[in-house]
């Protein structure tokens, strides 16, 4: 992986300071609203804000005023004409210099999910929001591009499925192992200087489970696998996954 060096001290916009909601317009077309709180970032008042909606090869970009007045221009509709559904839709907020250094990126918040789709931690992983997808006969799958936890929408109320104790206890530890394995062993990612990087956020999440720093990029795969196992064990222990599974399984058997 190529390391990206943050020469210009670009600031990271935190998820809680950039909330994006999506709703269908009267004609069914999706529109969005972005609530941005940028006052504490010490950005120039005339810096320009852009909100980008994206999914794979599709991107729509919208001007969103300035730091002094973070509102979209009235004549710019916020209609997501390129996105028939909000599935796997993500947003990015950019703040760029408007002065002599026009075009310089001053702050950025990336991979912002649609508000309401982002589940809160409890037994889940905040960095792995669930999303519906047609998975044929598969129940779930990790989409590593988000990453997202895809849940088969053929199951009916996929949100209820994703929220069920049985699903959580079986799926989330496995999904966590898959994401960490992909990042540390498959992609061999190493980008600790970039707080925006997905790896930094996942490593911070794993360290929060009490397993310390991950092995260095050039460490052997066994060492990395041990660290990942520790993280997953800790995650399962913290959320009492086995207990939840047992209780739910017994309940179903007795029903």
């Amino acid at each position: 992986m190529i390391r990206r060096i943050n020469f210009t001290g670009r600031k990271k916009i935190l998820r809680e300071d950039a909330r994006v909601s999506v709703r269908p317009d009267t004609d069914g077309m999706l529109t969005f609203d972005a609530a941005l709180s940028l006052a504490d970032y010490e950005l120039p008042q005339d810096a320009q804000i852009f909100v980008e909606a994206y999914r794979q090869t599709t991107l729509m970009r919208f001007p969103h005023g300035t730091v002094a007045a973070p509102q979209p221009p009235r004549d710019v509709p916020r209609r997501l004409t390129e996105f028939p559904t909000p599935d796997a839709l993500l947003f990015r907020v950019k703040v760029t210099s408007a002065g002599e250094r026009a075009g310089v990126l001053l702050a950025e918040g990336d991979r912002i999910p649609v508000s309401g789709d982002e589940e809160q931690p409890d037994n889940r992983i905040a960095l792995l929001p669930p999303a519906p997808a047609d998975l044929g006969q598969e129940i779930w799958r990790v989409d590593l591009s988000g990453p997202l936890l895809l849940v088969n929408n053929r199951l009916g109320d996929w949100k209820a499925v994703a929220a069920s104790p049985l699903f959580r206890s079986l799926v989330y530890p496995a999904a966590l192992r898959q994401v960490l394995t992909h990042m540390l062993i498959v992609e061999r990612m190493d980008d600790p200087d970039d707080p925006n990087s997905l790896q930094s956020r996942w490593v911070a999440f794993a360290k929060g489970l009490g397993v310390g720093d991950p092995p260095a990029q050039d460490a052997d795969d066994d060492e990395k696998a041990d660290w990942i196992n520790e993280a997953v064990e800790s995650f399962a222990r913290l959320h009492q996954m086995s207990d939840h599974f047992k209780r739910e399984y017994e309940r179903i058997r007795e029903a």
Binding site: R4, N6, Q56, T96, G103, S145, L150
Partner: protein
């Protein structure tokens, strides 16, 4: 013929054919699946699809954009059944037989899109160019460098550019890639644009990824980005700026 899409059974049977073809390259193409009611259903509102021959990815993408713009009730880009059916419909162009009627079938993602796999979703031989065309349909010629090849051979340069979400969605970056790597006199890529050497498409991806940390590339013109490229790209610079 009316445009159809495969249901789960149709996708499964087509995938089985692809898998079996690896062992038996002379296997007959199961075109009967196209209209088998067990495997395929008409896509509303039932637009016609023609068995055309496409010289380049660009022509295929343009034609499919015209046909699929009429489709309602599904998320076209993410409909694996639709793209699987279209692949079988145009299979002779996507996986042409040799003189002995044998086909060299590649990885499955080229024929049935891996919609949720970010490392493969763009590799589908029809959905790939369609997505590029759609992303740049206000001026498709800016993406000519990514759509100039034949349907069955997208090439490494396409892989390097299209696999990077921040580049393929940026009209100025795509315009730049076409300007520096596409040779209009031969209708193909310049020599040396593929591979790992200095100035190659792989290097362009790496350099733009670094630029993306510092600059809002979406807000810069192709000419501005070109002006910031290191000297390793000099041999590809167009004589008139992009």
């Amino acid at each position: 013929m009316r445009l159809h899409r495969f249901n789960v059974e149709g996708v499964a049977r087509f995938a089985r054919f692809l898998k079996d073809s690896a062992d038996d390259p002379g296997l007959a193409v199961p075109t009967d699946l196209l209209t088998d009611p067990v495997c395929a259903v008409v896509v509303p509102p039932g637009p016609e699809i023609e068995g055309r021959t496409f010289a380049r990815r660009m022509e295929a993408a343009r034609y499919l954009d015209g046909v699929l713009s009429a489709v309602t009730g599904c998320d076209v880009e993410r409909d694996a059944g639709l793209w699987g059916w279209l692949t079988l419909f145009y299979f002779d162009q996507l996986c042409p037989p040799d003189g002995h009627g044998r086909r060299k079938v590649g990885e499955q993602a080229r024929y049935v899109p891996a919609i949720t796999n970010y490392q493969k979703y763009y590799r589908h031989l029809l959905a790939g160019p369609y997505r590029v065309f759609r992303a740049h349909r206000d001026d498709p010629n800016r993406a000519l460098g990514l759509l100039c090849g034949p349907l069955h051979k997208p090439g490494e340069i396409v892989e390097q550019i299209v696999s990077r979400q921040q580049i393929i969605t940026n009209p100025h970056a795509v315009e730049l890639a076409t300007a520096i790597y596409y040779d209009a006199t031969i209708g193909s890529f310049k020599r040396g644009a593929a591979g790992n050497s200095g100035g190659s498409a792989r290097r362009l991806g790496d350099v733009l990824k670094q630029f993306d940390v510092t600059w809002d590339l979406y807000g810069m013109s192709a000419r501005m980005i070109l002006g910031k490229l290191p000297r390793e790209f000099d041999r590809f610079r167009p004589s008139t700026a992009a």
